[in-house]
Amino acid sequence: MKKSKLFVVCVFFLTLLIQDVMAQLQRERVVENRPVELTFPTPKHINLHTTEPLSAGELYYSIMHAFGTVENGITDFWGLDQGANIRFSLEYGITDRFSVFAGRSSMDKVYDLGFRYLYLQQMTGSGSPVSAGVVLTAGLMTEDYSPFNVSYSFSERNQLSVSFPVSRKFNDQFSLLLVPMVAVFSYTNELLRIKEPLQTDEVFAGVGFGSRYKLDSRTSVTLQYVPSYRFENEAFNHNLALGMDFETGGHVFQIFVSTSRALNDAYLLAAPNGRIDDYAFRFGFNINRSFVIR
């Protein structure tokens, strides 16, 4: 009796086996461990460099604007009448990890050249938990100071900045960015717009902090905070910006209010920042677009 019971059980399982031989293929991913992509939607997060690489042959174009302060209200339409500091830049991907860029900011007429290299890539599975890169920018200030009866030589107009963006995408919604950065100016004085009264520091350092939280597939809330340390004054300068990213499937629009008028790296650390409690915020927006030109 026992044996026949066993027999029935065997037949039952074998029948199951036959029916289940190939009814469906086992679902398997071709590559399990993939790079984490679109931690931030563009190479710039408000003003900070991100670790978002360009592909080889990809050309990225951005126009950044920062208007006057909002404190005068409708008189100057919350700063928009004061005109904007505008930075145009082009960045081109030479490899999937290395890109070069050139930009021009209207504030102090600064031209800059630089590169961005991604040396660490966050992976979905095992591998690095963060992405990390390095960005080096050399700038030349070309403002004409002859109306002030002063002139600066070429060697007095140079700036160099280096930043080390590190980012992590925690989940589909939340990404975080930390950017230790240093900027060196060949010469500063009160006429240059990086100054605060009696401020003649030439070396500045800070840690940029950026984050974004996705509200839906195309809209994110963004934050930027950059405490900057001045070596001689031993004082901190705080840049704070709050914004929104809108991804339109081609362009990425970043709209924000910021305490700084600065748009390039060196000025972001060195330029004065408005006090939040004085309504010294400014409106600003970036338009980002990339093309694959190869």
Binding site: T15, I18, V30, D172, E247
Partner: protein
């Protein structure tokens, strides 16, 4: 003792039945699949050579799937957007179709045979019943399967941007071409 022998015999014949069933199963995991997006300003296609497919000629069962992250549109920026924004391949890795043949495939007939399959197409966790016409050709090495059908992005909750014109068609044409080989147990 008699029961014991009978049991062995039944087990043995069941196993050989399994073998028979398997010889009617055709599979392959490196088939070709493409999607074509035809918008007024731009036509582009995404291709992959990782289509996995299975047809059980005996039971008429059909099963296909593709790892969507393997699709290549020849533009890495677009690929990245496709994976992360439109298809969300980390969350929904596969597009799959499981169904049944409406009429049997004749393994003895050379030349092309028209077939139809009825089943469920699943993408981004959304299931949609579909009837797909296909072309089957029995070859010496296996069965070649070709099929073409269309899907609407809206049906799979893929939102196309509306603010700025974007060169992505609402209707996507899917083509597959795969040779399925007889399944052999390792």
């Amino acid at each position: 003792m008699r029961i014991h022998l009978l049991m062995l015999w039944v087990l043995f014949s069941l196993l050989s039945l399994t073998e028979d069933a398997r010889s009617q199963v055709f599979v392959h995991t490196e088939g070709y699949v493409e999607f074509i997006s035809t918008a007024p300003m731009l036509e582009f296609k995404g291709v992959s050579n990782h289509l996995a497919g299975m047809i059980d000629v005996e039971t008429g069962e059909v099963d296909f799937y593709i790892d969507l992250a393997t699709l290549d549109t020849d533009n890495r920026r677009r690929d990245r957007d496709m994976r992360q924004v439109y298809l969300e391949t980390d969350r929904y890795p596969f597009a799959e179709f499981s169904g049944n043949l409406k009429s049997a495939i004749d393994l003895n007939e050379s030349g092309e045979q028209q077939v139809q399959v009825v089943g469920i197409f699943t993408m981004r966790g959304i299931e949609k019943e579909m009837t797909i016409p296909g072309l089957v050709e029995v070859k010496e090495s296996g069965i070649r399967v070709q099929a073409q059908w269309e899907i609407r992005l809206e049906d799979f909750n893929i939102d196309r941007p509306r603010i700025v014109f974007y060169e992505l068609s609402e209707v996507q044409t899917i083509n597959i071409d795969i040779i399925l080989f007889p399944y052999e147990e390792e």
